[in-house]
């Protein structure tokens, strides 16, 4: 019922409601900037702007304008492109829409409160609602809220399940898997990671490190500031790190998997037809191939460890660089900017002690390696830093 209404609003499949040369050029621009090598840096820049100008955009009027503008493009695009409308109205993808708006509202709430509180902190006033003695009773205060939430959530689920048909597909056929074969929406970020890493890395080690990092968080981050009240000014490093991992490395990857990944797991723009027969040159090259075949113009060494030596050394240096940030100035004291990073790391090291700092630095190194490898794949079709199929080890 609901989906047929949406269909009606967005035009029949294959034929958009509106089309004109201006709209086509708009679609071309969006499709171009949606290519991952542009869109991921673009999202990162937007992310940084969000953090820098959190006091400005979180005010009601700019936030409302952002909400209206985003909704207009997000839903209005259904009227100008039938492929996009198919993606958006697929019953599988309804949770993506809910997630996007939910994340946006949560971010807005947090930064709005943080802006208010940070202003109060700067002016030396007490922070509203931060009194630890400001307690309420479980019964009736909390239980009433929970009851209302329960009723509302049940009603929403009921209407959702009645209004939208279950996304059932044809019976499974081992000879003909769906193309593309997509994971459940909440695992699309994981599936996107699997494109760039060995299955052992992206399927076991990286998710394991996400879990271990989440477990370690309360032991690593013992700073009591921000407990019970929103703030950004007092916790810039912690909040930036967390939000980068969540927004850029999880939510954005889910958006990629939903809107941009088409047949044969190729990238398509959001307004592009999913052509299963399109030819995309994607030949991937290992770092060792670049090093030996292209740079030295020689044969690959037979010893696998000599062959992958450059990758092993570079990967080790990457991790080591993170682990040794506090001691950087001993070597590169003069380079401006780096001294600042190093000074901050030294402060952290002093507060946290060796073990906790090393755990943090190791997780940061792996977390930072992920987008780096993705960008290198897009720009240089790099396959693996370390390629050791003899031992089922690839990085």
């Amino acid at each position: 019922m609901i989906d047929s209404l949406i269909m009606l609003a967005s035009g029949a499949p294959g034929k958009p409601l509106f089309s004109s040369p201006a709209i086509d050029s708009f679609k071309d621009v969006v499709n171009f900037w949606s290519q991952p090598q542009y869109s991921l840096p673009l999202f990162t820049i937007l992310f940084v702007l969000m953090l820098v100008f959190y006091r400005k955009w979180s005010r009601p009027i700019p936030a409302g304008l952002i909400l209206v503008g985003f909704s207009a493009i997000y839903f209005g695009s259904m009227a100008i492109d039938s492929n996009y409308s198919l993606i958006l109205t697929k019953a599988d993808n309804v949770p993506i829409t809910i997630m996007l708006f939910g994340v946006g509202i949560c971010l807005w709430t947090a930064f709005r409160e943080a802006a208010t509180n940070d202003k109060a902190i700067e002016e030396g006033k007490p922070i509203p609602y931060s009194d630890r003695d400001d307690k309420v009773l479980v019964w009736p205060d909390l239980v009433y809220i929970e009851l209302i939430c329960l009723v509302l959530a049940s009603a929403a689920l009921l209407f959702w399940s009645v209004g939208l048909p279950a996304p059932l597909e044809a019976p499974a056929n081992p000879a003909g898997p769906p193309n593309p074969s997509k994971a459940p929406w909440y695992f699309l970020g994981l599936q996107e990671m699997l494109v760039y890493f060995d299955p052992w890395m992206a399927g076991v080690i990286l998710p394991g490190m996400i879990v271990s990092g989440l477990i370690a968080m309360p032991y690593i981050d013992t700073n009591p500031k921000g407990n019970g009240y929103y703030t950004f000014k007092e916790r810039p490093f912690a909040i930036t790190t967390w939000l980068f991992g969540f927004i850029i490395l999880w939510v954005v990857l889910i958006v990629f998997g939903t809107f941009l990944r088409g047949p044969n797991w190729n990238f398509f723009g959001p307004y592009e037809y999913w052509d299963a027969l399109i030819q995309v040159p994607l030949t991937n090259i290992n770092l060792s191939d670049y090093f030996w075949l292209y740079l030295f113009k020689s044969e690959l060494p037979t010893n696998p460890f000599v062959r992958e030596g450059i990758g092993i050394v570079l990967s080790g240096a990457w991790v080591l660089a993170f682990l040794t940030v506090p001691w950087w100035p001993l070597m590169v004291d003069n380079i401006p900017g780096i001294g600042k990073v190093s000074g901050f790391a030294r402060k952290l090291f002093g507060q946290m002690g060796t073990i906790r700092f090393l755990i943090l630095a190791f997780h940061l190194a792996i977390m930072a390696m992920m987008p780096l490898k993705m960008v290198l794949r897009w720009l240089f079709t790099l396959k693996y830093f370390i390629y050791l199929p003899e031992f089922n080890m690839n990085l």
Binding site: D198, P199, W265, Q279, T283
Partner: protein, 355 residues
Amino acid sequence: MGQTHQEITKVWIEDGCIVCDACETESPTVFEVLEDSCIIRPSAQSPDFTKPLTPTIIDAADGCPVDVIHFETVDVEGPEPWAGQEEAAAEGVPTGGGAKKAGGTVIPDGPPDPKWAGLLQTAESRGGKPDPAPAPSQNTPRPAKAPAEAIVAALPENAPPDAKQAAMVGSGFTKPRSGVRERIDAIADRTAETSKVTRRQFVLFAAGGWAFVIATLGTWGAAIQSFMVPKVTKEPPSSFRAGKLSDFPEPGVYEQFKPQGVWLVYLEEGKLVALSTTCTHLGCIPNWLNNDRKFKCPCHGSGFYVSGIHFEGPAPRPLERLKIIKDGEWIVVDKSKTFREELGQWDQPGAFLTV
């Protein structure tokens, strides 16, 4: 001769009794342990009664684990009437009790519990005899309070309580009270003596316990093992006939056996090979794209050349080749035997058929 000894005129119990029965065991005629408290028997609430029982009362007070038994004494002229009886004591008075310990070691540090004051009063009036030595303030070791106060006063005002205690002990004024730990150990020792387990009992008990542990772990292990193994193992035979050589006339990919998980590939170099249809990345089933001349996986975009070599996407190694042999004029594919390129197995016999 001026020899004197002390005799108990009044005994009382302060708050904190743990109802341990120790005092009644020592001196059953004086103490009575009730359900949740301990009292002095009314008949024992007269100096005449308590005086002859002085050694047992002192022992009871000494043996009380929480030190709540207190008493007052008077000095009586003459030698101890019970001296020498200790060894032959019919009442089981332990040695070491009596006069030695009564030498001012126990300080009455307060009046009797008000709860018992009334009872004491009635006991005295009922006895009808006035206390022969009714001035306990002169006869008890209470005068020693002055030095005690002096010792405490010598300490700084904010000295912690244990410092005061230490000072009192150091000056020989009070004996150090044994700690809770020692008392618990002492009780444990007594319990261990009374409830000794024989070797046979212990062995039986240990064997039973270990049998229980092993049975539990074994059941768990069996459950996990059973969970790991599929309950239904209906598999088609791993080898099948795939036609004759004449069915594959020209180079290309033959897809008719894809439901069995095999592509038969006639390579340009004149080899017929059986490629597994399982992607080496995470086990999806790729599609053969004839225009691109490649196998392409729909799950994560891995791509393979017609030979099975991986060249794009995340697949870490080439597609596996399956055993292919000739049985007369029939081509037989055996899926149970795989040949992996990265292990150098593609040149082995059985990995290909020469056409």
